[in-house]
Subunit: 117 residues, 2 copies
């Protein structure tokens, strides 16, 4: 049974509930980079994610109108995921967050190297 999120206290809260969580950011970013991805392709990109978490996160993103899910009635099955218009509005922001993070990573002597996405 799907748990309801806590009522967000304010818009900042609301935003972070939609993009926060362990995999949401990367899923949105990969869908942006590739335009459209199949379930298995996403699973390969999100190395180590379990099917349970991937399916669950995709379903939540779908309910939040952040991703489209397109099912092809073929054998073997084929399902494609893509960003909705709502989510696309966020891409420039996520990109700037990514650049901010890259700067923090470069500043840090320990890390010293950019992390590819």
């Amino acid at each position: 049974m799907r748990k309801e999120k806590d009522e967000p206290y304010c818009a900042v809260d609301f935003a972070f509930q939609r993009i926060g969580g362990k995999y949401r950011g990367r899923i949105l970013w990969y869908l942006h980079l590739h335009q459209v991805l199949r379930y298995g392709e996403l699973k390969r990109l999100l190395k180590g994610i379990t099917t349970k978490m991937l399916t669950q996160t995709l379903r939540e993103l779908e309910q939040d109108e952040m991703v489209n899910r397109k099912v092809y009635l073929e054998v073997p099955p084929k399902v494609e995921y893509s960003l909705t218009a709502n989510a696309k509005e966020l891409i420039p922001l996520i990109n700037e967050l990514r650049e901010w993070a890259d700067r923090r990573i470069m500043e840090n002597p320990r890390a010293g190297t950019k992390m590819p996405c």
Copy 2:
């Protein structure tokens, strides 16, 4: 004992680890709105937060160089929190996330009203 965060997989991950979490976004936003806030003021703004979570989150933000902690050696004690330069770079982005969220909230017939922060 402080648990280490999972190694972020990429910069997008890194960014969300720094601004994600239940209260981080709002703390950064409130510190932006008020410039400087005392512990008790933050606690009042984050209605319902426990001292444990507030202290813990502030310490993490401090370690991540997102907030400054200034202690006044007075009785009664006085501690002031403010944003670091690193965190201030994020404010325009958080503000745009907030505006994005406001648009989503207004679109939704159920909600229909902006949420103040």
